[in-house]
Structure formats: C-alpha cells, structure tokens
Amino acid sequence: MTNVVILNSQLHRTLRVQAGASARFGDDRRFVQVIANEFPLLAIHYPVFFAKDADTGAFYCGAMLGFDEGENLFLEEGRPQSAYRPLNLQRGPFYTAGNELAVDLDSPRMDGEAGEALFTPAGEPTAYLESIKAAMRELRDGLERTKIFIDTLMTLKLIEPVNIKVGFDDGTKRDVVGLYTISQDALRGLPDADVLELFRRGYLHLIYLMIASLKQVPVLAQKKNRRILAQSESLGLARL
C-alpha cells in the first residue's frame, strides 16, 4: 500500500527516512529506470539498456542490476553500496506532484526513529532533503531529455533488440528478453550529417557509453556466479 502526501514542514517536521540501500526498502529490483545524465556514472558498473514500459510500450533507459526478478546484485546488506546508486533508487520514498515534493508515508523506509531527518527543529530543510530535491529535479528534467534522446535514436533506426543468454555454474541458464541496445551496424551506416548532429547534441557520447556498458553483462554474471558458488559452499559446509 502507498499513502503519498505532499511534504509539509509543519506536519512532517519530525519525519525520518532510512536512505540506505536494502532489499527491505525496495531496492530488490532487477532493472531500474535511469536518465541519460547518469550514463557516465552508470556505465562503469551496470549494463545500460533500453526496455519497454509494460503499460504503454514506450521505450525508456534502464540499468540492469540482476538476472532474476527481485535480484539486485549490487546490494551489500548492512554496508553502504559501493557502486553508484541510480537516482531512481536514491529517491527512496519521494515523488513529485506538480511542482511539489511528495512522500509515501507507508514506505518501509519511514517506520521509526532511525534515519535521516528531513527538517531541522526550526523547520528548515536538512542537507538530506535538499539533496533529494535536487535529485528529483534532475530526474524530472532528465526523463524528458532522455525521451528526446530515445526518439532521435528511433527515428535514425539505431535501436535493436538484444537477447542475453548466460549459463551459471549451478547448471542453470538465463535468457533475458525484452532488452534493446544500440545497433552498431546501423550506427556505422549512418550518413555523415546525422553523425555530426548526434555529436553536437552530445548523443554520440551517450551512445558509446551504452555500447561500453554491455561489457558489464559478463561482470554481472560473474557476480551472480560467485553468489551461487558461495551459497552452494555454505550449503555443503552445513551438510558436513
């Protein structure tokens, strides 16, 4: 259940938010929507793809965090996450409603005394709240800009489906479908004028970041494999 209300410095003066990354708080996601501004920070950790919104079919950009439903291989419970955390996870229980900031009072991040304060006792926003406001602004503008980026690529027919098949040491296989990436063939075949235009708009950089981020797929698979091995070892030990 959610209970989203506009944030109010009077009503919510004492509210605290547990900002850290944890499965308990909803970070257990296989795929999370991202914006183009984040690509430089993302591409060194995560594969970045296009995917389709299940409700509208529209393309969006997302970072892949795991292979299975609810699997975020970057979570290190009890420790702050070392990899850059996508804005959509950083935002925690916050939403925008028009120009206002809203918060989900039923979020598991807000059940008690622990966590970051939103307001000083005098009712001034804390540095944490300011950082959330900045993140939300960045997300909102970024989503619009990312959409224009995607539309441009679609017009130039630069997006193609990609099928990721991986096998793990426990003998299981994963066939990840519904992801799309840059078509390098189409990119090579692009007329000069289009290439120049992509460069001038800063899109060529984003395109190459996406292509480079594909290299994170095997890294992610190794991460999962290590977990599988660790698990089976601990099971083996338990049996001894």
């Binding site: 509208t56 997006i159 519904g178």
Partner: protein, 515 residues
C-alpha cells in the same frame, strides 16, 4: 523493336486500386528515377464499394512492405484485430452450435498431423480447435493477439484485421501519393483507345484528357471497365455453387463505449444465408448475405433485424447486389484485372482482399520487362489466379456441404450433389479415409487456404475421417506431447494477453513501437 513497360495505369481507387498501386510502387521504387510511373485514375463521382472489412494475416506483410506504420493504420482506419472466424449455427442450427476457424496452425503442424490423433480420441473431450490451438479460447475470452510491448506487425497469436473500408482507401491513397510517388488523377474514364493488336493504348477521360500507358490494371469494381467492357472477357457465373446474391449491410453502434470488441469475425447462419459481424473500435459492421432465390428482401430484413435488435429502425440498411463468379481470364493483352473487376464470391472467408494482395504481388514481382514477354507472364498469371479462384470456391462450398440443417430450402439445396464442384466431391471422398495435411493436397507456394483451414472447418462441423488406430501408433507419444504443449500455451496466453478493447485503446493512446 522491344517496347519496355514503364507506365502503369490503374483504373479505380477502391481497396483494390490503392493496394495494387502501393504494392507495385513500393516494389519498383528504385526504377521511379528512370521514368517508371504508376498512375491511378479514379472517378470523382462513382464511389467505392466501401464494404469489405475483414482481411487475412497477409495484410500485415502487405502493409509493412508498402511502408505503412501499423499504428497509423490502426488509428486512421479504425482497425481492430481479427483472430479468425466463428461459425455459429452452420452445422445443426441449434443455439449452441458453433466452431472456430482460427488463424494459428495446429500445434506442430509441420511435424505431425494431429487430426487423426484427435479423431482417435487423443484430445479428450475438447473440440478439434481447442485441442490443437489456443486461439479459440483467446477469442472466447475477448483477448487481443498481442501486447502493447509487441512490435508493429509482430504477433503473439497470428492475426489479421477488421477495418473501416471507407477509411482504408483514403488512408492508402495518402501514403501512395505522398510517400511512394503514385500519381493520382481524379477523372472519369469515358472511352478506351485500342491498338491494332487489341492492346489498350490509352484511356480517354472527361476531366484529364487522354492517359497513355504500357500496362493497365483494371480495378474499376463490378463494372470491369477495361477487361470486361473493352476487351470483352466473359464472366464465369458460380451461382450454381454459391447461391448468395444479395447483401443487406448495416453498421451497428456499441451500446456502451466499454462494450467488448470481438477479436474474430462472427458468422451466424440464417434461413437463406448468413450474417457477418465485424467488430471495430467504433462500431460493428454487420450484414446479411442471402440468396434471393430462397428469401424475399422483407424476410431477409426481418432476420437481420432479429439479429441486430430493435435499434435497426434508427440505422440505415444498404442493399448490395452481388454476383458470384469471376472473369474467364484475368490478364488479356496489356490489361490485368484485380478486385471486384476480376470477380467476387460471397465474403464468407474474407477471400476478396487477400486475392487482391496476392494478385498485386504477382503483378509487381513478375512485372514484364517489355511487351514481348508480357503474354508469357499473362498466361502464368491466368493459370495461378484461375487455380486460386477455384480453390476459394471449393473452400467456401465446404462450409455448406457439411451442414446437417434441413430447416429451409437454402440448406437442403446446398447439399445437392449437382451444386458441388467435382474436385470438392473427390476431396471429400478422399478425406473420409485420410485427413487433409499440407503434404498431399496443398502444394502451391501461396495457397489461399492451407490444409489447416480445411481441417478446422471439417472437424469443426463434425466431419469424420476414419482412422485406424494402428496408423497412429508410431506417433502417439509425440501427439500427446503436442496436445499437452498446446494446453500449456493456452493457459499462458490467457493469463498474459490483454482484452481486445484495452489493447486497441492503448494503441490509440500510445502507439505500437516499430521494433
């Protein structure tokens, strides 16, 4: 001197004319630079027939090839999905008598013929359609054949379209003239000028003078202006086989904007014919196709009113005379006929537009390089097209000969052996002992109706092929596996596919992605 074929002139701007123009122009885009032209001449005063709203799945490939966006097509032609046809009351006439002719092939069709296994009891108490294919269940549930994330023209379950015929021709016109370089001339053809060898040299129009051409495509509708009137090609009447000769058409609004949209054509047998029911997002297109030898217009109107309900009083019912049959030749001299000008059969399996597509494709692929080789191409075109008409007639008649209805002369006359083509008789005889499969009977590359279609109709209508249990022995376990795979697939698709209306609304709101 070799006379190259450069200027294609199409007469008629209905569904047939614009589809043919689009298919030819798209295929020969590259030659447009070197003087190849496609001109479509259409009368500003004679309207198009404006009915014909059910297609075959081939339409997906046709539209994609001519470069149309499927999203635009859905939005601008009020199009909807069609996953086959449901035939109600054709066998016994009882209220619960119905079967599906879906568009998906039986599970594993290219590996194994499941029909003998189903006949031997391998499908349990399921109908043939339900035992071998999920689509009947999807239609029953009112589900769409894909999802909003499925790209344009791709399917989860095979599909064709229902569309608004009044909007389809203008939609194609816009695309053909703006994107494909087709020249559009609004003018009435008044006379035709022939060369000494009988070829059409040019057409003389009231508003645009004389228009010469190398190849003329007659898409002038029932009037068959060029092939029939000018070149005198005769008409082969088929009303001794297919009796229906009149249609009463009426468009029925939904009662509520949220009413479900059927994702299949519903064809309900009546006392002297049958009623079609085609669900578009905006309305249902319905009509009674009947034999005037077996029913008066008043009686037919009454039956249609019973189907549509009292609201029919506020709606306008249009009477359309139809003539079953086709030209004796389809291509003569430098003139080829497509669409109603080539012929027409009652629209029982939506075979008219698919034949337009197949003909247009054949013309564009086989486009004669010059006049000297045209007769060779023409002979082949006539052979293939003649075969197709014959096959369609057989297939339509199949729906009638299997009936057990004896409640009116129409149904009794329909099973009279004198009205059944010899080939169909032979096939029915053969099928008593061996069920049709794609190997033995249907060898043509672009067969209009595959063997699977015959299976769905035969076994949907209770036809029995005698099977010897021993004959099934070697493939029993494979058949059981395919039938159980189909049950699993059916369950999965029913769980994941959206309602037909919901998906159409989403396509309207958000569009489908091209990839």
């Amino acid at each position: 001197m070799v006379r190259p074929i450069h200027n294609i002139v199409i007469v008629g701007g209905g569904t047939a004319g614009w589809l043919t123009a689009g298919v030819i122009a798209a295929r020969h885009q590259g030659r447009m630079k070197t003087g190849f032209t496609v001109t479509l001449v259409e009368s500003p005063s004679i309207g198009i027939i404006g009915v014909g709203e059910g297609t075959w799945p081939t339409m997906r490939a046709t539209l994609e090839k001519i470069g149309v966006s499927e999203t635009d097509f859905f939005r601008e032609c009020d199009s909807a999905f069609k996953q086959g046809a449901k035939f109600a009351r054709w066998t016994t006439g009882a209220a619960d008598d119905a079967y599906y002719h879906p568009l998906m092939l039986p599970q594993g069709f290219t590996q194994l013929n499941l029909a003998p296994h189903w006949l031997g009891g391998g499908g349990g108490d399921r109908t043939f359609c339900d035992a071998v294919c999920p689509q009947g269940a999807l239609c029953d549930d009112g589900l769409a054949p894909k999802m909003i994330t499925t790209p344009e023209y791709q399917a989860v379950a095979n599909y064709a379209y229902h569309l608004d015929a009044g909007k389809f021709a203008p939609f194609l016109q816009k695309h053909c003239t703006q994107k494909l370089g087709v020249r559009h001339v609004l003018a009435d053809v008044e006379s035709v000028i022939q060369a000494e060898n009988g070829d059409i040299a040019s057409i003389r129009t009231k508003q645009a003078g004389e228009i010469p051409g190398d190849l003329f495509v007659d898409c002038s509708g029932f009037s068959a202006l060029l092939l029939g009137k000018t070149l005198g090609v005769g008409f082969k009447d088929c009303s001794d086989v297919l009796f229906c000769d009149t249609a009463l058409a009426v468009q029925v609004p939904y009662e509520r904007a949220s009413d479900p949209i059927a994702s299949h054509t519903i064809s309900t047998a009546q006392s002297a014919g049958w009623i079609w029911d085609i669900g578009l997002p905006t309305r249902r297109g319905t009509g009674y196709v009947y034999s005037s030898r077996h029913s008066s217009e008043d009686a037919a109107h009454e039956e249609l009113a019973r189907y549509v309900g009292p609201r029919i009083k506020e709606l306008s019912v249009r009477k359309i005379p139809i003539r079953s049959g086709h030209r004796e030749l389809f291509w003569k001299n430098n003139c080829v006929a497509v669409g109603l000008a080539a012929g027409f059969l009652e629209p029982l399996e939506a075979s008219a537009i698919v034949l337009v597509e197949l003909s247009a494709k054949l013309i564009s692929e086989q486009m004669p390089a010059n006049r000297e080789v045209m007769d060779i191409v023409a002979a082949r075109f006539n052979e293939v097209t003649g075969y197709r008409w014959g096959r369609i007639i057989d297939f339509l008649k199949l729906h009638y000969v299997l009936t057990k209805r004896t409640d009116s002369r129409f149904w009794i006359d329909n099973v009279d052996p004198a009205s059944v083509p010899d080939r169909l008789k032979n096939l029915l005889h053969l099928w008593k002992y061996r069920s049709p499969w794609f190997f033995d009977e249907f060898d043509r590359l672009e067969e209009v109706f595959p063997a699977a279609s015959y299976q769905y109709v035969l076994y949907g209508m209770g036809f029995r092929t005698e099977v010897e249990p021993e004959d099934n022995e070697g493939t029993q376990s494979m058949a059981a596996r395919l039938i159980s795979e189909n049950a699993t697939l059916t369950r999965q698709l029913r769980a994941k596919l959206p309602k037909n209306r919901d998906l159409l609304q989403k396509i309207f709101d958000h569009g489908l992605q091209p990839i």
